[in-house]
Amino acid sequence: MRRAALVTIFVAGITLGPGVRPSNVAAQSAAVPLALDGEASARPWHRYHEWPQRDSAKFNTLAMLASPPAPTQPRKVAGSVAGNSALGAKLAADRSRGGSCLACHVMGPAGDADLPGNLGPDLSQIGNAGLGDETLFNFVYDARVYNADTLMPPWGTHGIFDDQEIGHLVAFLKTLKAPAPFKSDLDDPAKRPPPVENRDNLDSMLNPAMWAVDDKAPALWTEAGPKGAACASCHRDPARAFKTWAAGMPRWEPRLEKVMGIEEFVTRHARATTGHAWPIESAENGALAVYLRFLANGSTIAVDQESAPAKAAYARGEALAHRKVGQLNFACLDCHDAGRGAGKWIRGQWLAQLRGALDHYPTWRTSLQATWDVRKRFQWCQVAVWADELPPDAKEYGDLELYVTAQSNGLKLNVPGIRH
């Protein structure tokens, strides 16, 4: 059985070569052994224990719709809204409450005007705008009644702030009548210089993710699994064989009826050929995912956009990138579309557009002292907007990864990256 598989791989190597053209999807995938049974990550999926353990089952995820519907009418407010403006100022700066306001708005003296964001308009003089209490209340409660395309989380409808708290925020907003007292240009998002990434990401003295390339992956490559084979048994010269392979991933895998990324490929291919158990998010899988992309560094990203299954996956991924998820109600493109959030700041963090986002994944995260692959990045984005994440090998993430990677078609792979 194994010899037949080896012969198949050998034949595939001659006919297709390392620079596989995307249109050979069916031929290419049929040639490579994959363990098709089971999942590529833990089931049931449990969130990483060091992440916030908030349960967001009542709100949309990328796999299911659950959020309450948007109201069609503003709520009526009789007279003026009661509230304590000092408490409102504290709420506006409270990072544990989904941002909160300062993540997206400059708001006068709130939070000492310390690095507010500008995804939304500057509210420092909203107290002079002549908006009544009812309008201010409803903008916070659920701005969708005024603007269906708003980026504002529905703080009231989604139960993040209760009516008393929104009252405090309204009281605070009414006090805002002067420009924010920035201590320096660094605090002003209109003047803050965007970060420039010029670190040498391939320097092992700077980027611990490179240790996978230096030591960990080469050691795994020659380690025999339960079936008696190692990666090296068939792939004796990985640097030559995989010179461009990673640049064509992720790809549609017909046997699994989903888009398969490199991490899932490693799990299923290793299991089929060597017997190694290397699920997604294991240290071994991570090291090999970095290594296989590193070997293709400098090659041009060319995700399939020609075949019918790839086109369908791209369309699904694009739709998912537009879906509002989580209690905070954000879609990927709200932050990462050049026409919406990209190029703006959420608090002190600059938002990048999709193009150029995945040419450097997996990446070392300096804030966490860990290497993250793209699926973990997706999972965190969900949790960060108070949505439940999916298992890393979810088919929705595959569609999304194909769509997002395709935005970087034409750029060159440069892995592993190093980022905040």
């Binding site: 224990h49 060091e50 092992s204 003295m205 700077l206 611990p208 240790w211 030591d215 002292q369």
Partner: protein, 107 residues
């Protein structure tokens, strides 16, 4: 657990020339301020001293506090008059010493 220290020293140098050395040790530098999932403080465990000796004499030393980042990295310079061997030593709070040697030819 022990990862080999990563060291960059040129193989050769001229007498009196300023030579740049880079050293890196994989080490979590547990500050003693971090809490685990149960809310308990993870005890301090850091590299508290790093030395670079050349042919037995001290060339450079550092006393480290928990504010040195994980995977402690130092880049520093020496001027040498003779060939010989560097010995780099990292001392952990628990008393263990991690050592690595590098040779250099000076002419």
């Amino acid at each position: 657990m022990a990862e080999k220290p990563r060291i960059k020293v040129p193989k050769e140098a001229k007498k009196g020339e300023v030579v740049e050395i880079k050293t890196l040790l994989a080490h979590p530098m547990e500050s003693g301020l971090r809490k685990d999932d149960a809310g308990a403080l993870v005890p301090r465990k850091i590299i508290n001293r790093f030395t670079c000796e050349f042919n037995g004499a001290l060339a450079f030393a550092c006393e480290l506090e928990p504010a040195i980042a994980a995977n402690p990295y130092f880049q520093f310079t020496v001027r040498l008059e003779e060939s010989g061997t560097f010995r780099f030593t990292w001392i952990d709070d628990d008393g263990t010493a991690i050592m690595a040697d590098e040779t250099i030819t000076v002419a």
